[in-house]
Amino acid sequence: MDYEHINHEIDSFFKDYFKPHLEFIESNLSLIENHNLLTPKINYINASKFLSQTYEKFKKIDKNFAPDTLEKLLEEVTYIENMQLNLKTITNNPQDLFKSKFMQNSYVLRSYEDAVKTLKTNLNISLEKSSAEFLNSNEIIDLEFKKNNLVKLKKLYYKEFKLKLIHKKSKIDTDLKNIMNSKIFYLDRLLWKYSNKSYKISCDLEVLGLEKNFTSHQYLMKILDIIRPDTEQYNYLKKCLKIYK
């Protein structure tokens, strides 16, 4: 059995298994590439909850303050978060995945297993027909040989399968994070761009003591001044502040 064939079978399986993830990543990476969208070095991912809460709050003040783009971005961020959770679940148990899904799909492993099964059946028939001493010893040797080979083959497949699974998972995870970071960055900028344009939101923020050209940084500083320190929310917002240096 050559490695090329094993690799090919495993690669095809993963291509199919991660199809929704890979298609989503591909379409988003082309969007980023085709329009030169920004993929910041700063990690905005932590701010996702803060931005979505702020958006909801502002929407209550001025229902139509932002274009649909903002809503789409928010929905997509949630979608990516769910996709990450799903990725974690479906890659959590490599052995189970190998046994329950991959082995059913592998032509080589199935053929080998079928061959062993057939040999076993034939041998059982021979056993019923004749006494043990007249058994064809070649059949027993052949069965043992094939059984051993199947075990070795499964081990070989599993070793490659596990390595590729870890690599694939990590690559998808990194791509999803990069895409999500870019989305949250635009979400942040658009949120404040349109909050600044909204008369109602501006009035509300000015009452809070903020000056025009509102930003996440300015808003977070004010909120942290107001809310009770050492609470979960306070610590979370403090972490967010690090993003907006």
Binding site: L38, N43, P67, D68, T69, K72, L190
Partner: protein
């Protein structure tokens, strides 16, 4: 059609943001950092974009003669870079060293989260320092820059250890 397909007007919104970002005026502190970044050894080989991603609470601070910059046994994650001026280092009230412009200090406390091992006092009429903290959590998008920064800091710590060894050798011989 993809559930999240962005229409022309959505993409236009993104492109406007790109334009605004490129025209964005950096804060005074960031501008100052750009002007001195090349001279600061610990920021060597790190791009400005990456630097912005891995440091926070960046401040340019001026101290006056006898001002205490760092107190022994205190805890803080701040790293200092002495831009101009002189400082003296004391351990249990004994002077153990001097710091000149271009020196970095506070890195051990920041990296190893230890108590400050010495007190640093401004020894010139004034001293200008750049102070900052490292955002250790930005491993996702700036791991390379963080690795370079830690390597640069390791070089600084190593240079200090070499100086210390030389001083000990000189005293014992």
């Amino acid at each position: 059609m993809n559930k999240f397909e962005y229409l022309v007007n959505d993409v236009e919104e993104f492109l406007k943001i790109n334009e605004e970002e490129s025209q964005k005026i950096e804060s005074k502190t960031m501008k100052k950092l750009i002007s001195v970044q090349d001279k600061i050894k610990i920021f060597k080989n790190i791009s400005y974009e990456e630097l912005k991603a891995i440091i926070y609470d960046l401040k340019f601070v001026r101290y006056e003669y006898k001002d205490h910059i760092v107190e022994q046994d205190s805890t803080s994650e701040i790293i200092y870079y002495l831009i101009d001026g002189e400082c003296q280092v004391f351990q249990n009230s004994n002077k153990i060293g001097e710091l000149h412009s271009g020196s970095t200090f506070g890195e051990s406390g920041a990296i190893f989260e230890q108590k400050r091992s010495a007190t640093v006092i401004c020894a010139s009429k004034t001293a200008t320092l750049l102070s900052f903290k490292i955002d250790k959590n930005n491993l996702e998008f700036a791991s390379n820059a963080l690795a370079i920064l830690y390597r640069n800091l390791a070089f600084e710590i190593n240079a200090k250890l070499n100086d210390l060894n030389k001083n000990i050798s000189a005293k014992t011989s």
